[in-house]
């Protein structure tokens, strides 16, 4: 393992310190926690937005804390959900009297820990609602299993629900717009190389020199297929086709797209993928309203990318365009 770290056991604390040092006007760390909150938290009479999850997905989630987006982000250990006590601290810190909204990605650990925290907060008299993001079409959507994972589409939930809350919407209104985003967002990813959790010291899986995995999760979870690497056009086409097959995005729709790097993919390659994604959407009569290219939801140093499509109506367009001061998503 070759990494720029001091000690594998304190990477999360070390990272959070650096993030706060870089953005002292926007964010602060709650003492003795792994919670990052807006420096002016809580905002009185505004619904507080809390997200979080395992670390290793930077800039998610702390990078999305700022006016117009999240009020708090809870960082777990690398690829490990944060614990209920930490989530509870975040909820308490951002409750401005109008309730707190949790954005949870659909992983067993995240759901369990955030649900426990919500129960604890409600016992203390704070109103809590949540949405579960499950945008990864690589996983079969079934009520008999854990269901689809939450990946890069989560960023759109942060942005749009954050903008809605900033407008003074009620907890129910924030929940309803967040659910609208979840219903209209789909993603899929692929990887060329694995990644190494610092405390584990070795890669979590192996890919041969000429191999790629289509449909992989942001922790290296199994995807749809392992096969010989193909061209960027073929990869883009495979990801977009699978997303469109889900039937949410059709001719005549306006969409926002996100071409997300998983940690070790040059922007050059992301742009090459984007070029083909645009071509396919043009052919299908789907109009690209806005494009985001870069690293938004990573998997440590994994090489690969994900493609996300979000279908937009007028409300979602307006909210997407409203200002955000979050360090990793300035609008």
């Amino acid at each position: 393992m070759k990494k720029i770290i001091n000690d594998p056991n304190i990477v999360v604390q070390d990272m959070l310190k650096g993030m706060v040092a870089a953005n002292p006007a926007t964010i602060k760390q709650l003492p003795d926690t792994t919670v990052i909150v807006r420096s002016d938290a809580p905002t009185i009479n505004k619904v507080g937005l809390v997200s979080g999850g395992g670390s290793g997905h930077e800039p998610a989630h702390a990078g999305y804390v700022g006016k117009g987006m999240l009020d708090a982000a809870v960082a777990g250990e690398v690829f490990t959900s944060p614990t209920p006590d930490q989530v509870l601290e975040a909820i308490k810190a951002v409750d401005g009297g109008s309730g707190v909204f949790l954005v949870i990605k659909n992983y067993t650990g995240d759901v369990l820990n955030f649900e426990m925290a919500a129960e604890l907060a409600e016992a203390e008299g704070i109103k809590v609602e949540h949405v579960i993001v499950n945008d990864d079409v690589a996983v079969e959507d079934s009520s008999f299993t854990t269901g689809r994972r939450g990946i890069a589409g989560t960023i759109f939930v942060h942005k749009i629900a954050g903008a809605k809350a900033e407008q003074g919407a009620t907890l129910d209104e924030v929940k309803s717009v967040a659910e609208k985003v979840v219903a209209n967002v789909r993603s899929m990813g692929m990887a060329l190389t694995p990644c190494t959790v610092p405390a584990a010291g070795k890669p979590s899986f192996n890919l041969k020199e000429n191999e790629m995995e289509i449909g992989i999760g942001i922790h290296g979870e199994s995807g749809i297929e392992r096969k010989e690497i193909s061209t960027a056009d073929e990869i883009a086409s495979e990801l977009v086709t699978k997303i469109l097959d889900d039937g949410v995005h059709v001719r005549g729709d306006d969409v926002a797209i996100m071409i997300n790097g998983l940690g070790a993919t040059p922007e050059m390659e992301l742009n090459i993928v984007n070029s083909k994604v645009n071509e396919i959407l043009n052919e299908k009569g789907i109009h690209v309203y806005k494009t985001f290219i870069g690293e938004y939801m990573t998997a440590l140093e994994m090489a690969g990318c994900s493609v996300t499509l979000l279908k937009l109506d007028d409300e979602l367009k307006t909210l997407l365009n409203l200002s955000s001061e979050a360090p990793a998503f300035r609008v």
């Binding site: 650990g109 820990n113 899986f205």
Partner: protein, 206 residues
């Protein structure tokens, strides 16, 4: 015999020894069908449990179990923290005020723990989760008459081994679908260690 405060503390000390010893093994199991953090998280959590238990005085078994639960909930993370935490929290509530804990109350505690895990994880028997070990162990406790029989350990071992043949439908291993077959469920492996430790503590008392 009856289960006393010192037995409970001894139990979790042995659990911690086993988890620390098998940290890498658990992580390796989790690398195959999960996200490679199970051993790391359990080792961190149970080390904290032992640290906490060594600094306190306890009146009754329920208090020990409560501290174990709260420590696991706040220190383990992932799905294991809330699941094992809920198990020992329910166990603690079931034996509250009973000290030392007689066999029937202990059995009741294990039953409540199992129900708690099922509810929290929205899972049932046969989904390649820790329930596949908890459940048959509870069955053995219910059919035996006292701690002295101590037959549950063989059942637990077999149940853990059997998770190999199950296709996961809950937890992160579910993403691997049929590829999850042939591998032991990491949560079942650590649950087995918890019962292996319990059997050793009971045996030591005889």
């Amino acid at each position: 015999m009856e289960f006393r405060v010192e037995d409970a503390i001894h139990w979790f000390t042995v659990v911690n020894d086993k988890i620390q010893e098998n940290k890498e093994n658990l992580t390796t199991l989790d690398q195959v069908i999960g996200d490679s953090d199970h051993g790391i998280n359990m080792a961190r959590g149970f080390q904290e449990v032992v640290n906490k238990l060594s600094t306190q005085e306890y009146e009754e078994v329920a208090d020990v179990l409560n501290h174990v639960a709260m420590t696991l909930i706040s220190k383990v993370g992932g799905a294991s923290g809330p699941l094992f935490g809920t198990a020992f929290l329910k166990f603690s509530q079931a034996v509250k005020g009973i000290n030392p804990v007689d066999y029937d109350s202990f059995t009741k505690g294990l039953e409540e723990a199992l129900q708690g895990v099922k509810q929290r994880g929205k899972a049932k028997l046969g989904e390649k989760t820790m329930i596949d070990v908890w459940s048959p162990v509870v069955d053995v406790f219910q059919s035996e008459k006292g701690f002295e029989d101590n037959l549950f350990i063989e059942v637990a071992r077999e149940a853990m081994e059997n998770t190999k043949h199950i296709m996961a439908t809950k937890g992160r291993a579910a993403y691997f679908k049929e590829k999850s077959i042939g591998h032991i469920d990491p949560g079942s492996a650590s649950t087995y260690m918890i019962f292996e430790a319990l059997a050793e503590v009971i045996k030591g008392r005889k």
